[in-house]
Symmetry: D2
Subunit: 441 residues, 4 copies
């Protein structure tokens, strides 16, 4: 037992509870709209930040109290200890899902074959623990960015042998994900991009990446993986420029390579804001483009220029994200995955609970707000009214091809049309939203 | 005569000249590579910032010494005076092109019909002056953002009457551009976007914009306009979020609406950096996507978060932009248009000359650097070497479909492939570029 | 009557009200801690954005329905109409204060003497209206940034005649503020800074600014003005670099020029975030430095790089601001002034009510949160515990001079002291704050 | 021998050299103005980034070919190997200075006493190597940020025992710096700041930091260290907010604690831009405040929000930095220290040479530009002219106290003074600077 401060599963105690180790809002079986909170939110804990990262940063060593990360001559024993800790945590927290990279779970060995053997062995153990605890796999992925071989990219590496190595590694991770019943498989291209245009052949690297994604999709089909394949946009960091800059950039890429029916996006809150977009914007764009998949539920610090991966704490922000998702029909295979890091000073193991409970309550309360916005037609009413003209004769005639530029010109000059601006009512609508946030219960 | 400090056309006097009213680098007839500087750079002066803007900003009134912008009861007389000043300037400066919005040239009237009549009249005068001076039109455009009716967008307005009005206005501006032999027609959607998602129907507005662009393209075909249709990306300002955020976003949009064969992009330097990209990046992306059209040649201030539209002064930056363009084959119908503002304190009319001469010299010197980079294979050599593996058996086999994930996995495990990273040589290449910049003559 | 949609003063109707034209949280006479909401918050409406700005931006003309801003040959009549509208609004809204620039109230004339005469006349009328309505003046100020003469600064202008003009203008504005019983006088140096170091003598301009502030303070003493003199930090815009960059920069300046006992700061939320600081940070720094004065209560858009001056809508953010102020003892002569602009599309007059009611409710609810944080010792308890060691022998010995570097070195090596890090508990504390926000009533 | 590609000291070969392992501009003995390039620039190599950092980042392991950083059971042997490599490099490169943190040079042990013993031993060896090679120490410093004990700060830690430990460590590092004849001693407070205001007592931490700096200054006096004590501003990273945000913030702090005569600033280029300032701005502010000390010569990437610590490559930027320094009288004890990291892909040992040679040439060429700007009075002439009015009667009368607000008001109204703005000539001056950059030889 690693989490000795928490002796029983975290319980829902309601909004008035002052017990820091209880949920105030996340009540898994509570039905909101048509589904339970559990099924709406599909929340997942991540293996890497929570169990594989020691609390280090660029300027300092790890601070966390994680015995399984201590230097060791027996990495497999340490990996098993880590897995014990992780599943103890999953079980006590009560999140229905988790996610992992291949080498979070199994320590990478010198050869790919040995790495694969380790991964297979540990994945089998994970499978047993999943059965025991009921925790499911939201998604798996392969770490194609930490090893020095990937310094210049994996699929986009100037060396085709590195491409081959990455392909082989993804083959393993995808098959393990499939065996564990993963609902999705994610590709994050942290090194797929460039440091400087001076040494980069942009066109060639784009073709390589397109080919890689086709290979992955074909393999998924071959092995019968029916989960969703997801790309995760990020503008930069660690790379100066990443090719999957934001949702629209990914959409352009997918269309160009004939992949837009086969891949969706996994949107991260902090990646959205680093790319200059509100989190809700990226979700709205993905839904509109038909490529919305899943969410990395975190938030950044608007004053800092790097990925701080903080736990969601702003109901004001997250409500608008959940609202877009609900309007779009909710998650299919996706969910809210906490790709979140404790602050480096939050070094106690119990801090992992405080942070996740806080994050889950933030998302649960945001769900209540979002559902209320929909139920009350807080915004849908005014929006429908605002665009009502497009359902009239002129609007329809424009969209259905009745009009061309000349006929519209004739219309305006013949009738001396002088349309007047009307209020966008932004402050009034913001105030409506505030009221729903205040009252969500 | 408005520019009395400049009594003759600006001459080329060579690098050692200390005459501030002479070119040190722009020698129009000098052949660089296969073309003259004039034909490589196709530089253009803009009507709005240079002749229509009084030096005002959000916090203060106009400061410039521009008699044609004084309050008047006879706007057509003022517009003619403005046109005299503009063509006097074009002629003395020696830039081969100019650009304009409809209502820079002709003051907008209460009705569209009257506005059109004014535009037709003044465009005829412009045509005469073009013939007299030899100055040509790089592109025309319609101002769909200043009038209050466009506060919530033109094509993406919630009111279809505003769409109709915009359509009629573009019809006029496009026809005038055609009559004046414009090489391109530009659409910049300064208000096509949203202020808040709370009142916005993203999907509907996207459809409206797609429709609008189809209408414009069809009309261009109908009237026989063979110039290029250009969209100009910008991430925000004046709008919180503009739909044409950056080149990749525009590319996604064009593909989705079946417009990628019909529209190209007009990339502005300061818009690029505001969207989080280096200027050269946006050019490289557009060329790779096959949608590179033209350039708004300006630069921003990396410490400021808005569009400062400064004259190009950095050879270090612009050389890399011109290099990408030359590698891509150079301009077709596009050119470098100075979408640039004097600083508000640069209130003398002669400052317009200082600024444009400086900008033209910056671009001319950047052209010399870019051509030298190509001639010396400063970068192409190392880049070809870096990717050489992709021309080998494995690389070709990956790209041509010989390999799949399973075969690559077999290859890696069978041969115990352990590819090693090699140096990206960034600092060495940066130093090579510095040398070329130092020596460009 | 200009605001015909609002026929009676805005009433407090409580949290459950769905009346958009009523307060849900601002209940002026409700006692919170030791004071009424009115006396805690001291909220003020601003004349310029709300009555003097037509809804224009850099890319477009005014959109607002403000008859008093229509072109006119009788600027004084228009100014009186504007004042009628303003006081009608102040009265109906129920904010206890307002603020103004000299030339918001009185249109600037060609000569300073004439401008002064106009200001005196209109200020007398304002005085009468203040008496009638009970609305008080939070602060006055002089507009030293809009007129072309100030393009290169007022106090920091290279031309001493401009300094003299600014001094004369401030003399008038200060005297009028004094006559109207203003609680503070503000100086915002929008043009005090530089566009480029190339033409700037930084040292000289610093001396000029120091001298100017001494002159103002001496004049305030001479006329018996006992209000607070305030400087307003802003990092840039309209100027590339403003000398009053942020609170710490102003503090450095005030100390250097011996002005730190005579001036305090007026902190604006959006200016704070533009300078790279959280709003609460700037308040905390000012309180620590003993120069906290007043607040411009607005917020920006974290995705945009300019001053959007939006109405406060985030209780999550504002609660932490009010908390710092309450911990610091609350306002003395300062208050929360809404230096806020409607969005350009919010063109109805009634939008001014929606926006201000929303802003006032945001601040009122933030006050409730802040008071609860204090009453519950939500944070003060953990913070006191965290630093408890500094009240022990070692801590006291360090601070009182008992220890020097050598004795501390001896202590550490003699005792082989190996202090261990403890958890900073950030996520737990954030969660505590969330609970207080949820429950504030 | 570790740097086998470089068999002899790097030579100066002049601008036309295409030898990548030769200087094109840095000609140590060349006299520029009144001093040699060596004495103007006082360039230094840093131990940490160049010899102690393996090429890791937050997302990946080290990539560099540095045998002395391999895992080892004998850290002192590895440290000696590292020192051999470092001094081999210093000697071959020909930079006159180097800099180090205590634990770059000597591996930290479990106890401070043991760490001290290691440092003393290795510093003695460094001393011998300095004598042999002639390389001198620009500055030493203590690493108060990497060890977990410093997670919540060193001097500003909530635990006074951590303060004591930091004090003891600085005592050692300062004494070693003194023994090695260091010209300066630097304090960089990477963890002196806060992650969240929620758990922070800002006032208390400020007092702690002030006390710490007094202790250090007193100890420096006691041991007879006559070098300069330097603080290094940085806005954030690793900490959310660092107390030494920028030069002005440090100036405020030093004045408040009576330390402004005892400390100066060490300004880093990339820290300047991260704080929202141009590099040259920070230098100008420090010189004006009388606290200019030394420079960390690097530059960032304007599109990235974290400290990229790149080698100086922009003559356009660095020339303006060197110009401010020369105008201010040049370095006293300070110098240009390359606090610069190779890109992670620049993994060959020879890349260290390419990068440093490039950086040194950039600074050398910038020195030539700066000296030419001064010699030609390119900017000083126009600036003097611009402010000439302040040497006239009115200007002097304002500054010397002859005038007060009332007399200036009288002057303006009596004479109906209407000062006119004049051109700031920014574009013209930028163009002048471009010419000097082009021609610097």
């Amino acid at each position: 037992m690693f989490f000795t401060d928490v002796t029983a599963p975290i319980a829902y105690e309601g909004p008035d509870s002052t017990n820091p180790l209880a949920f105030r809002w996340y009540d898994a079986d509570r039905v909101v709209g048509s589904k339970t909170m559990r099924d709406h939110l599909r929340m997942a804990v991540c293996y890497w930040h929570s169990f594989h990262w020691p609390g280090s940063d660029v300027f300092g060593a790890g601070t966390f109290d994680r015995p399984w990360l201590a230097p060791t001559d027996d990495p497999m024993a340490a990996a098993r200890q880590k897995m014990d800790a992780a599943f103890e945590f999953f079980g006590k927290l009560g999140a229905p899902f988790y996610s992992f990279h291949d080498y979070d779970m199994a320590p990478e060995a010198d050869s790919l074959a040995e790495s694969q053997a380790r991964l297979d062995e540990l994945a089998d153990e994970a499978g047993k623990k999943m059965e025991e605890t009921g925790v499911q796999l939201l998604w798996g992925t392969a770490n194609l960015f930490s090893h020095p071989r990937y310094a210049a990219g994996a699929a986009t590496n100037p060396d085709p042998e590195v491409f081959a190595h990455a392909a082989a590694q993804v083959r393993n991770a995808l098959e393990v994900t499939h065996r564990l019943g993963g609902a999705n498989y994610v590709l994050w291209g942290g090194r797929e991009g460039y440091e400087t245009l001076l040494n980069t052949d942009l066109r060639r690297e784009g073709q390589q990446l397109g080919r890689f994604l086709h290979l992955v999709a074909e393999h998924a089909d071959r092995i019968g993986f029916t989960g969703t394949l997801l790309l995760e946009p990020k503008p930069q960091e660690p790379t100066k420029h990443q090719y999957d800059h934001d949702v629209a950039t990914v959409h352009a890429f997918l269309q160009r390579h004939g992949l837009d029916d086969r891949y969706k996006v996994n949107i991260e809150g902090n990646h959205a804001t680093l790319s200059g977009h509100d989190f809700a914007h990226e979700v709205a764009v993905a839904i509109d483009a038909g490529i919305f998949g899943s969410i990395d539920a975190n938030q950044g610090d608007d004053r800092l220029g790097w990925d701080t991966d903080q736990f969601p704490r702003s109901v004001e922000m997250m409500s608008l994200v959940v609202y877009e998702i609900l309007k779009g029909g909710g998650f299919d295979t996706g969910g809210f995955m906490f790709d979140t890091k404790l602050r480096r000073q939050s070094l106690d193991r119990t801090d992992l609970f405080h942070a996740h409970i806080g994050g889950m309550d933030t998302m649960a309360r945001s769900l209540l707000v979002a559902q209320a916005l929909i139920d009350d037609e807080t915004l849908t009413g005014p929006v429908a009214e605002r665009y009502a003209g497009w359902d009239g004769e002129l609007g329809r005639g424009i969209l259905d091809g009745t009009h061309d530029l000349a006929s519209l010109h004739g219309l305006v000059t013949d009738q001396d049309l002088r349309p007047q601006a009307v209020s966008g009512r932004q402050e009034e609508l913001e105030r409506r939203v505030s009221r729903v946030i205040e009252q969500a219960r």
